[in-house]
């Protein structure tokens, strides 16, 4: 993972979001996989709905949406979240 990398929700993704209490379920039609996300993870994933982000962009967006400090702990979380979502096929790395 480098500072130049960006990620996006694959354009062909057909996602259905279902929010209850502080939890979110995302249904990914292409894989028929269903993912349960907590508030922080779903907030982070939702940041990509408005377009591609790099790690710093995700870090800032999450801090803003969650109204928490943009500190090292959040940066570590954002990095891990990208890795996890990419592994699940919910994000893809893009050039530039």
């Amino acid at each position: 993972m480098t500072a130049l990398m960006r990620w996006q929700i694959p354009p062909q993704s057909d996602l259905t979001w279902w929010h209850r209490d502080s939890q979110t379920i995302v249904y990914h039609a292409q894989s028929a996989d269903t993912h349960l996300l907590d508030l922080v993870a779903s907030t982070g994933f939702a940041c990509f709905e408005s377009g591609p982000l790099d790690l710093a962009g995700l870090h800032d967006s999450m801090a803003q949406r969650l109204e928490i400090a943009a500190d090292d702990q959040l940066m570590q979380y954002a990095r891990a979240l990208i890795t996890r979502l990419e592994r699940l096929g919910l994000l893809e790395a893009i050039d530039g």
Binding site: W18, R20, D21, Q23, I25, Y27, A29, A32, L36
Partner: protein
């Protein structure tokens, strides 16, 4: 026409010949068997069910008949479902549980117009309850006890959830009981009819309880889902406890109990989340059956969701 309108002999002859079509909820099964003990048990357990003598159509074709296979000393039988003949043979004396298993297999493999969940379902006051849990959690035992205590049996095996309306469709077939539950329910429901016990099954001894006549007669009435209970039988528990659980983890739990969630795609997701939105969701810890029935009667009386 009900099966009991035939004599036992007529029923047996038809089962051994052209077959007998038995209506169980929305499904018409064409059944054939020349195994007399199985034919007798079908007559006993399905007495209240509508039958069609010369059907031109059936949803599923199920036959159970003897086969000659090694070792020759054992009488063996095989079940065929719609010409699907790749099931392993089994000792003929275990034909009854295998027959019931075959009927379940049809629903679990072929039904796509409902979301099919592995759950016992009942209804009271128009409101449906789903009892969910792994094998051995006591679904069928609790289901049989509730069916004997004023709840209407929908199914001891399946929740058939209709997409978009989320209504529960009834199936009301015999309830499969295992091991110590058989005697427990015999004592509890002395006027009910039980099929013969079949021992040596992978899950122990199995016997089937004939569904209450009212459940069979009202099988076309759907129920509005109101409660989902994840069963947690704790032999050492001294009281019943209902703990409210969040809806999102309940959805994830139910996905694991669904037979056709993936096949239904987005419709499956919409149906499952819609079902859970309608329901109060609980983890139900219990040990004593009397307490459990009492607790759920109380739940039905006091916690009917106003939707």
């Amino acid at each position: 026409m009900k099966l009991r309108d035939l004599t036992a002999s007529e029923s047996r002859q038809r089962l051994a010949g052209a077959g007998l079509a038995i209506q169980t909820g929305p499904f018409l099964y064409s059944v054939r068997t020349a195994i007399s003990p199985l034919a007798s048990t079908i007559y006993q357990l399905y007495a209240d069910f509508p039958v069609v003598l010369d059907p031109t159509f059936a949803d599923f074709h199920v036959s159970v008949n003897r086969v000659r296979r090694w070792p020759w000393v054992f009488s063996q039988a095989v079940i065929q479902v719609g010409g699907h003949g790749s099931f392993n043979p089994f000792p003929t004396e275990r034909a009854i549980p295998y027959f019931e298993w075959g009927l379940n297999w049809c629903v679990s493999q072929y039904v796509q117009h409902h979301l099919v969940l592995h759950a016992a379902t009942l209804e009271r006051g128009g409101q449906g309850i789903l009892l969910v849990g792994p094998s051995g959690a006591g679904k069928s035992t609790l289901c049989a006890a509730l069916a004997g205590a004023g709840w209407r049996l929908l199914s001891d095996e399946f929740a058939l959830v209709t997409p978009r309306t989320y209504e529960l469709t009834a199936l009301a077939r015999p309830i499969s009981l295992k091991n110590e539950s058989i005697q427990l329910l015999r004592n509890r429901l002395p006027n009910s009819t039980f099929g013969p016990a079949s021992s040596g099954e992978p899950k122990g001894t199995i016997a089937h309880l004939r569904p209450p006549q009212a459940a069979v007669e009202q099988v076309t009435q759907t129920a509005r889902p109101a409660w989902i209970l994840l069963l947690d039988r704790q032999p050492e528990a001294t009281s019943c406890e209902l703990h409210t659980i969040a809806q999102a983890p309940t959805v994830m739990k139910l996905i694991g109990q669904a037979f056709n969630y993936c096949e239904l795609g987005k419709l499956g997701f919409a149906t499952l989340t819609g079902l859970v939105e309608l329901c109060a969701c609980y983890r139900f810890t219990y040990s004593d059956l009397d307490q459990a029935v009492q607790s759920l009667n109380h739940l039905a009386a006091s916690d009917a969701p106003s939707r």
